[in-house]
């Protein structure tokens, strides 16, 4: 038995590491971006789905096992995954993916973060000191993140560095055209006032020029209360919002209630890749987001 185990272990140790670069993406949008850049040169594990609140995940055994095997961790950063990712990284026993190592990539480091709090006080709710971390909904952010990511992939896997650069270049060309198309389609959304469940859409609003007039959560991370909701309905008189937005993972109750009272549509947006059947990749994510917003406006 011991002999069998020993030879099995040695054989395992001798196996050349599987050809593809092992990537651990914390969120579906980063998995999709790595897929665009890396193609078949990478093997991707996605830690969360669009139906999960990425802030509330626990350090599950499966995450530890996957982090142990990863060569690159692609995270959002800005404290979004603070409840579980640091724990997963440390307990993985994987030296290459620790914070500060080339195998750890934080997307939020490459964009200008919005809503950086001036005062850090939890009386303001679960605020993120670095700024709002939901950066993926401004497609322009993906240029810088993608550029840095392609360079990082090349650093970790020099053999395929030209392929990553080529992948990034091909992506930027398609992406630029797509952004121009979305911006044209979304012109009617400029200046449209909206309510949101949580501050999930700050970057989307900033990109398309929509105006957020209120949030259903009284404070970030605190569930909508009846008082907060009736306050928002009352405000509809003076500052009417045109629709109420929520992500695929947030409960529909509060936004449907507001929608019913105020007579405005409740719009569920995919928020990330996989949030709706149409949002199968990054292009689908924004196609569907823009279409759902336009439909809400009609």
């Amino acid at each position: 038995m011991i002999r069998l185990l020993l030879s099995l272990l040695l054989t395992l140790a001798c196996l050349p590491a599987s050809a593809a670069l092992q990537v651990f993406a914390t969120a579906p949008e980063w998995a999709a971006l790595v897929r665009e850049i890396g193609g078949d040169k990478v093997s991707i594990y996605t830690a969360t789905t669009a139906l999960q609140d990425i802030h509330r995940i626990t350090a599950k055994p499966s995450l530890l096992a996957q982090a142990r095997r990863a060569q690159l961790v692609v995270a959002t950063g800005a404290e979004l995954e603070i409840g579980w990712l640091p724990l997963v990284l440390r307990d993985s026993g994987n030296a290459g993916i620790q914070s500060g190592q080339p195998g750890y990539f934080e997307a939020a480091r490459y964009v200008n973060l919005l809503d950086v709090p001036v005062v850090l006080d939890r009386a303001q709710g679960d605020v993120h000191a670095a700024g709002n971390p939901h950066i993926q909904l401004d497609p322009r952010n993906l240029f810088r993140i993608g550029e840095a990511l392609a360079a990082r992939l090349g650093e970790l896997d020099p053999t395929n560095a030209p392929a990553y650069q080529a992948g990034y270049k091909a992506f930027t060309e398609k992406w630029r055209t797509a952004i121009a198309r979305w911006e044209k389609e979304a012109l009617p959304l400029r200046g449209v006032p909206v309510l949101v469940h949580h501050a999930s859409f700050v970057y989307l609003e900033n990109w398309l020029g929509m105006k957020e007039t209120g949030a259903l959560e009284p404070k970030p991370g605190v569930e909508p209360s009846s008082g907060q909701l009736s306050g928002l309905v009352a405000r509809q008189q003076s500052a009417p919002a045109k629709m109420v937005l929520r992500t695929a993972y947030q409960s529909d109750g509060p936004s449907l209630w507001i929608a019913g009272k105020a007579g405005i549509p409740a719009v569920m947006l995919p928020f990330t890749v996989g949030g709706t059947p149409e949002a199968g990749d990054l292009f689908g994510l924004f196609d569907d987001t823009v279409q759902r917003l336009l439909k809400g406006l009609r």
Partner: protein
């Protein structure tokens, strides 16, 4: 035949080395070529990008200008504060307090088990331990953490350890004072418990602290498999109950454990484990009752083997625990004491051991608990727990004539509801029917708050 596996191993290792060497050479050449290629391609790509940006700017689309403009923004590398305080560690403080309503039972013990100092006879209002935690990466190789608990006017170092960050290969080493990774609940701090007190088995196993704390070394290895498989070993001073402090060279206690875990679909995940702890005790003392009901003192010398099996199952719709989730956990133990017990009359009350009597002490005892906690809205949770112990075999040798150690199956049923305003604050109401002491049925009501301030806590599994 013995040499055969070694030959196989050596051959495998040799072939492994050769392969690695030639691969390394090739990889070096490849990477040089790749670097050259990359540098040229990057320059070309940069030029092409500038060109396309210029084209985009001149295009008639009014919004394209903003695209290019944003694209050309300077990269905002998270601006680190330049002051020295930027390197301050993560600090968090846990505040806990409670109100208890229960029977007044002085010298509360768990019948049929080794009597440990028990602090649970505290009625009315009280403030639990205030936990102060500091943690930070020390450098790229080490991380340190200290947890100080303040109760009354004493400060206790609950944990103070350093652990490695940079070994790799799935290896983690920890040194210092740490909560042992045996069992499931052992490693968790009281403020993360789902009930206001620990399961009975933890009180029986590790005394009122309900956690085995070791001063020593921990080695962990996580296997490189898609299935979570983790092995660990610990050696240390072994001063915590059921061991006792012994000033000697070498190790006073040892632990081994294995954990396995995985997801089932997207909604469920589980972890199972087995742990073994060996401790030894020198003159471990406790207050017993003799056959005539008089207080007597007992002193144990010998070894204790503890075996724990644990299982945890978590479920949440779509794997999103925020709105609803369910957690089931259960642990089982068997403990064997093997040594001798000396019965004494230190207070001179005239008990059966006026002349100290030393006899065999050999026990095999077991117990378990199971609990389920359901979170049905983001704020509200409700849970049930059942505890049962079996005093099992208690061979007292010649002291059977002197000490009273009844056979008993202590049990307790507990129900709780708690409310969380946010991730950082919680209040809990708990009701328990406690039959852990023979002849006493204690209906216990607890109202408790747990709040943490400072650094964001970790969501352990």
């Amino acid at each position: 035949m013995l040499y055969k596996p070694f030959v196989v191993a050596a051959l495998l290792a040799a072939s492994c080395g050769a392969q690695a060497a030639s691969d390394a050479d090739l990889a070096a050449i490849r990477s040089q070529i790749a670097e050259m290629k990359q540098s040229y391609e990057q320059r070309i790509a940069a030029l092409e990008q500038k060109l396309s940006q210029a084209e985009a700017r001149s295009a008639a689309n009014p919004l394209a200008a903003t695209t290019a403009a944003t694209d050309a923004r300077p990269v905002a590398i998270a601006s680190a504060s330049s002051s020295a305080s930027a390197f301050n560690p993560e600090v968090s403080l846990v505040l806990q307090g409670q109100y208890n309503q229960m029977k007044n039972v002085p010298n509360r013990t768990i019948t049929g088990f080794w009597p440990t100092e028990d602090g649970t006879n505290q009625r009315g209002f009280s403030v639990n331990e205030t936990e102060l935690m500091f943690a930070a990466n020390i450098d790229p190789y080490w991380r340190g953490q200290a947890t100080l608990s303040v109760q009354g006017d004493s400060v206790e170092v609950e944990e103070a350890w350093v652990r490695t960050l940079g070994i790799g290969e799935g290896i983690g080493l920890k040194a210092g004072r740490f909560k042992s990774s045996i069992g499931y609940l052992n490693e968790q701090h009281a403020h993360t418990w789902d009930f206001s007190n620990a399961p009975l088995m933890y009180n029986v196993l590790f005394g009122p602290a309900a956690s085995y704390v070791e001063d020593g070394l921990q080695f962990k290895w996580l296997a490189p498999t898609p299935l979570f498989v983790e092995f660990g070993a610990e050696v240390g001073r072994g001063a915590s109950y059921p061991g006792s402090d012994s000033n000697k060279n070498g190790s006073g206690a040892g632990a081994l454990y294995a954990h396995v875990g995985d997801d089932v679909g997207v909604s469920s995940s589980w972890r199972a484990g087995v742990s073994y702890l060996k401790t030894s005790a020198n003159d471990r003392q406790a207050d017993f009752v003799d056959v005539n009901g008089l207080p007597a003192q007992g002193m144990f010398n010998g070894d204790t083997d503890t075996l724990i099996a644990d299982f945890v199952w978590k479920w949440a719709p779509n794997g999103n625990p925020k709105y609803q989730n369910f957690k089931f956990q259960s642990e089982y133990f068997v403990r064997k004491d093997n040594g001798n017990l000396t019965c004494m009359d230190t207070a001179g009350v005239g008990n059966a051991c006026a002349t100290p009597v030393t006899g065999d002490y050999d026990t095999r005892q077991s117990g378990w608990y199971a609990q389920g906690v359901f979170q049905f809205t983001p704020e509200w949770r409700a849970g049930l727990r059942y505890d049962q112990l079996d005093s099992g075999r208690q061979n007292l040798g010649s002291n059977i004539a002197n000490l009273a150690l009844p056979d008993y199956k202590p049990q307790r049923a507990t129900a709780m509801v708690d409310y969380s305003w946010s991730e950082f604050s919680r209040a809990r109401l708990q009701y328990a029917q406690d039959k852990s002491m023979q002849g006493v049925t204690d209906n216990q009501l607890t109202l408790q708050y747990i709040m943490s301030l400072g650094a964001h806590g970790a969501h352990t599994f």
